[in-house]
Amino acid sequence: MTTHVAIGAHDEDAAAAASNMLLAVKLAILSEVMLFGALFAAYFVIRGESPGWPPPGHLERPELVLPGLNTLLLVTSSVTMQLAVRAARAGNRSRILRWLGLTLLLGGIFIVIQAYEFSTNGFGLDAGTFGSTFYILTGFHGAHVLAGAILIAIVANRTRLGLFSAEHHTSLEGTSYYWHFVDVVWIFLFSSLYVL
């Protein structure tokens, strides 16, 4: 994430490094799209072959209330993230911090709710194909939320230390791409795992 301090850094190099970084983030997201694409494909194939969903047995699908709330939280956090990016473009440090803090808080609550849901679901990873697909999708996604939250915390800390300016806030911009991606994955996940 730090090529802007590469050997011989000056303004032009820094601008080039910033745009390199953002391209890299987009490419990384493309690869992640394929990762989740594979997991979703597995889910739909297995679900399609099952005589019912959940497969006949004693499994219950999770309630919609908490995941619905989580959807709201994550979508809101995308908005606050974008507001943080705007603040960064305007070079307003305290506003960046406020919006990043709020994003982090929303992401944190999401993770807590998700963990609570996992612990009260009444079925585990080993509960046949239903448990397998449910947890691999939500689990991979949860890990991405966690990684995103850590990135936001790092970025917020760097903002606090005064390392960002209106021209120079690549890592914040890159983190925002990633965060929006994680949000979009959740929307797909919510609609196909919980609602559909």
Partner: protein, 623 residues
């Protein structure tokens, strides 16, 4: 100019902030791996984990310890806690010219990383080749001479390792070394991520190498369930190692794409890029898009093994065919991830030794791109006998046959360049001719495997083995040898021995053909692949094949001898011994640490052979 600025920066920053991780290097990496390994085992014991879970924890912690120890994360960690990165240390990580230790460190210079990849790939190539010799020893006579389980394990290990060689040798080795120079850049876009992608490999390779100690595995590199779900821990070792290689190649693919699209010298338009760079760009795009799919498939398979999931367990509602779809959705494009760099190297060599412009350059570029796109539409031709949906057979057969069109155009580009050229029969060019023959056979026999009726008869026979080796050895390994000889003077600053090179070529090519041509016949006659024993009537042919195969190994010995000896004591090479026009030949051999004193300006394509005036901007630094 750059150097002075760095020195100034070093004076400013050096007294401040040592990185908080201790001095990194290979010894610390090994120590870190051992500590991580012990931690993982400790944690597993604490959790009363099953053997599979223990292996996973030990490997994950070991890998993390190794990477921390080698210093892969030190700059990012410094950055993450909000400190400025020590510019002097960052510069030191780039390595100093002439210092051999830099090859055993976390060095960010793309040229060092290229050599690391290349040497690692060749070591792996020799190891996997030795495994093949064991297989040919067992197969020399009908009956069981050694041990069936051992044969299966060695066969699988040979496959797993050779696949890795084919995946990383050209793009990781030659590509890392040459792409930045060929496009007129000082380094890759992300030098640290570049080094990280290399340093993820050693432990993964070690894990595959020790799999016999963990009980081996007999699924082959394709790891189909249910066999791969039931097999020993060695199977799990392979799966984890392959996921690691996958993550490494995604990282490296991002790096290549950003480098090619953002770091080109002024005037180096996309259609002036050397064709080798184009081939690697498409390769990187394929690796980026396809690899995470196989990572997902192998992760699900690992979860089935160690966490009790049911993705591919038919008895619990899972779907075995699903694994094959996900696996081949990556692994067919992966065939092109392996072959395109080889084709690129071949097309790069051809114009230089035919002294003619590359024939139909724009079409060759277009073909690489269309091969890339189409490679995602053909995967199920590996599955005609799997029991997959019937309606899928014909469309996949058609797309598979269609993909031979762009491949044929690449071929035509090589042939058209040779046509009426003033050919210099130097060793790299010999490999081009070897490639043309071998890849042609590979392509033609592929038609029989693309056609559903013949494929059903030929599935899982020696015919497939022969076809596969003609494409991957013919495409990748011939390209690798062509490229290695061609760029050897640039990389080492010395010339290889021409006579030994010729000996290697003729010996290898004849032995290779003698090994695999009879396998087509054996396959048609019905000899199964991947099995340690076979009907007695195939004995004579198999003995012949084994003798031929041992000759391949001997010829590779000549290659290794030539490379090592020439690197140490070969005659010094000029900067441009082939009179080639691409940028890497316009700078010293070996290239200076910053590649270019002044970034060149490019004014024309690099293939203007036979034109009255060299295409360089200022006559010296560019072409």
């Amino acid at each position: 100019m750059i150097a002075t600025r760095v020195l100034a920066a070093a004076r400013t920053f050096a007294p401040r902030s040592r990185s908080f991780v201790p001095r990194p290097g290979l010894p610390r990496a090994i120590l870190g791996a051992i500590i991580g390994f012990a931690l993982g085992i400790g944690l597993a014991a604490e959790l009363k984990a099953e053997p599979g879970q223990l292996l996973a924890l030990a490997y994950l912690f070991g890998l993390a310890g190794f990477l921390l120890g080698v210093g892969a994360f030190r700059f990012w960690l410094t950055w993450a806690v909000g400190r400025e990165i020590d510019v002097a240390e960052e510069h030191a990580a780039h390595g100093r010219a002439g210092e051999w230790q830099r090859y055993f460190r976390f060095t960010t210079d793309h040229k060092v990383i290229g050599v690391q990849y290349l040497v690692t790939a060749f070591v792996l190539f020799f190891t996997a080749g030795t495994a093949a010799m064991f297989m040919r020893f067992e197969l020399a006579q009908p009956g069981i001479a050694t041990n069936k389980e051992l044969y299966n394990t060695i066969m699988s290990t040979h496959g797993a390792m050779m696949i890795t060689v084919a995946l990383v040798s050209i793009i990781g080795g030659l590509g890392n070394y040459l792409v930045p120079i060929m496009i007129g850049a000082r380094d890759m876009a992300f030098p640290k991520a570049n080094a990280l992608s290399y340093w993820m490999l050693p432990l993964a390779i070690l894990l595959v190498a020790i799999n016999p100690l963990l009980g081996g595995f007999d699924s082959g590199w394709t790891a189909y369930p249910p066999l791969s779900q039931q097999a020993n821990l060695g199977q799990q070792a392979y799966l984890m190692a392959f996921v690691t290689v996958g993550v490494s190649s995604i990282l490296s693919a991002i790096n290549f794409l950003v480098t090619v699209f953002r770091m080109r010298a002024p005037g180096m338009s996309l259609m002036r890029m050397p064709i080798f760079v184009w081939a690697l760009t498409v390769t990187a795009a394929l690796a980026l898009i396809a690899t995470s799919v196989v990572a997902a498939a192998f992760t699900m398979l690992l979860f089935d093994r160690i966490l009790g999931t049911a993705f591919f367990r038919a008895s619990r509602g899972g779907d075995v065919i699903l694994f094959q779809h996900l696996f081949w959705f990556y692994s067919h494009p992966a065939v092109y991830i392996m072959a395109l760099p080889g084709l690129g190297a071949i097309l790069e060599v051809v114009p230089v030794f035919a002294r003619k412009p590359l024939f139909a350059y724009p079409l060759a570029v277009l073909s690489f791109i269309s091969i890339g796109v189409m490679s995602f539409m053909v995967w199920a031709h590996h599955m005609f006998v799997s029991g997959m949906a019937e309606f899928f057979h014909i469309p996949i057969m058609l797309t598979t046959e269609l993909i031979s069109v762009p491949t044929g155009i690449v071929f035509l580009s090589a042939l058209g360049t040779i046509w009426l050229g003033r050919i210099q029969f130097k060793v790299p060019m010999l490999w081009v001719f070897g490639f043309i023959w071998a890849f042609l056979i590979g392509g033609i026999t592929g038609v029989f495997l693309a056609d559903v009726p013949t494929d059903i008869a030929l599935s899982d026979t020696a015919f497939v083995v022969a076809h596969f080796h003609y494409t991957i050895v013919g495409g990748t390994i011939f390209g690798l040898f062509a490229g290695t000889y061609y760029w050897f003077p640039k990389i080492t600053g010395r010339m290889y021995n021409e006579r030994l090179g010729r000996l290697h070529f003729w010996w290898f090519t004849l032995a290779f053909n003698a090994t695999f041509i009879p396998m087509f016949w054996l396959g048609i006659e019905g000899m199964r692949r991947r099995v340690a024993d076979y009907p007695a009537e195939f004995g004579t042919v198999n003995l012949f094949i084994s003798i031929a195969a041992f000759n391949i190994a001997l010829s590779v010995g000549v290659f290794a001898f030539n490379m090592i000896r020439s690197w140490k004591t070969g005659p010094l090479a000029e900067s441009n011994p082939w009179q080639a026009q691409t940028l890497e030949w316009q700078i010293a051999s070996p290239p200076p640490i910053q590649n270019f004193d002044e970034i060149p300006t490019v004014t024309a394509t690099p293939y203007q052979y036979g034109s009255p005036r060299p295409a360089a901007a200022d006559g010296s630094s560019a072409s």
